[in-house]
Symmetry: C2
Subunit: 303 residues, 2 copies
Amino acid sequence: MSLLVFGHKSPDTDSVCSAISLAYLKNKLGMEAKAYALEEPRKEAQFVLNYFNVAKPEILKAGELKGKDVVLVDHNEIAQTADEIGEANLVEIIDHHKIGGLSTDLPISLRIMPVGCTCTIVYSLFKENNVEIPYEIAGLLISAILSDTLIFKSPTTTKLDKEAVYALAKIAKVDYEKYGMEMFKAGTSLEGFSIDEIVNMDFKEFDMSGNRVGIGQVMTLDIDAVLSKKDEFLAYINGTEFDMLVLAITDIINEGSYLIYKGEDKIISDAFSVGACQGVFAQGIVSRKKQLVPKLTDAVKNI
Amino acid sequence: MSLLVFGHKSPDTDSVCSAISLAYLKNKLGMEAKAYALEEPRKEAQFVLNYFNVAKPEILKAGELKGKDVVLVDHNEIAQTADEIGEANLVEIIDHHKIGGLSTDLPISLRIMPVGCTCTIVYSLFKENNVEIPYEIAGLLISAILSDTLIFKSPTTTKLDKEAVYALAKIAKVDYEKYGMEMFKAGTSLEGFSIDEIVNMDFKEFDMSGNRVGIGQVMTLDIDAVLSKKDEFLAYINGTEFDMLVLAITDIINEGSYLIYKGEDKIISDAFSVGACQGVFAQGIVSRKKQLVPKLTDAVKNI
């Protein structure tokens, strides 16, 4: 029986690439298998598919799972998988996440490893089964590993992830650092979004010592595109009714955030120990919840 | 840090042999690892250890798990593992059972395959890691696979189990069918038990159409030892106050049960379609719950 292979909802690069690569491997091992996506893949995954000229996986349709043999990649929790998973016959899971209360009626195949990326496990499976990795599959695998490990900057990165990247870079013919940055830039590009949309993309409001404070955060490597429009952002931000508004443009690779804000320079410089000026880079500041909010709250209180 | 490797409570051959073999493999791969047992291994496992001259694993002591890195083999459910598992740091599971509600805080290594025996997976791990399997480890691995698959008679047997046995038989220098039978006989030997103990080893009482019916069942391949004492069993059984008493001596390899009984021959012959006589072999009758009880209930009703 044919296997349906798919990753989690809101498919990222790993979910898309591990599904396609594993289906390819299963085919080579004599099984019928086809990769699907639960939803439209994210922008970065689309860049990767284009770059290596691989067709986008079909989106799984309602009713299509009924009675089918299913392989899950890059997730193992029911909340993250297809709504109709209960109608299907789960036969295998390949993943790198913690186990979230999984239960099965029968024994299934489970391959979970504490590595940075599911595609690192898929790479191991190619090796274990002595199946040659073609150019485009190597491209998908290396892309996912670079994405999940933030080009090895993530603390989840393991020796196995690195070894896989070094080997795959040769087959996919890429300089992995250069290619990784290109992929991140494309994936986090803000092209086509208006000033309004970018500020409000992920926006939250807080009360700090009686002041209305808004904090927007956007993750991108396409920093230049934002900073080149700094005056337009400032005009928009200053036009809002907030007492203070901080837009954090977070650079996940350089691990910090550019801050564009409406408010007193002294609060910003106190909060983040930076010489405050518009478009300042706050090194190490990447989390709104754990850093931006508590530091700003303190600084506002002490002004 | 050193790894503690152990199987489930009431350790059977697979739990003991997979723990020892996996610890050996981890050592060869440069990790510190030691096999333990949660309780005294069952009789069959003890036979296997003696046969291949391998030391019995240490029994895990209370308090010994605290803060230790742990690898579980042959089980994944909390109810089947060490009572103090919550004090330890679970890093890996290798198993062939269904998943029973497993949850972890962090990603761990999980290798579960729908094969007949954990030792088949351990055998695959030796192969994947190109580690040579020495004589005594081959002996432990093949014993567990033969035990769990009932020498391939169990429907859980897979191609991988068989391939492992064929390869391991050469290293362990055994005729796998002959050795398997010898192991089963030793493991199910009733030597040292009295007539009374054997009849009551696993005994249940039922009401069938107003009759008090007792059914004892004992799994053994040491059939001859029982049948040679048929008259003593009959004397004991006939001396009980039951209206009917059936002792089923179940032969798991030949998939049937020898029946020694107090009661009307006609009921036995009706129930199991056999020419009733003492010590009759009822082919295909192996389950008290699903076969002995309903068939006898019907036959008693229709007498």
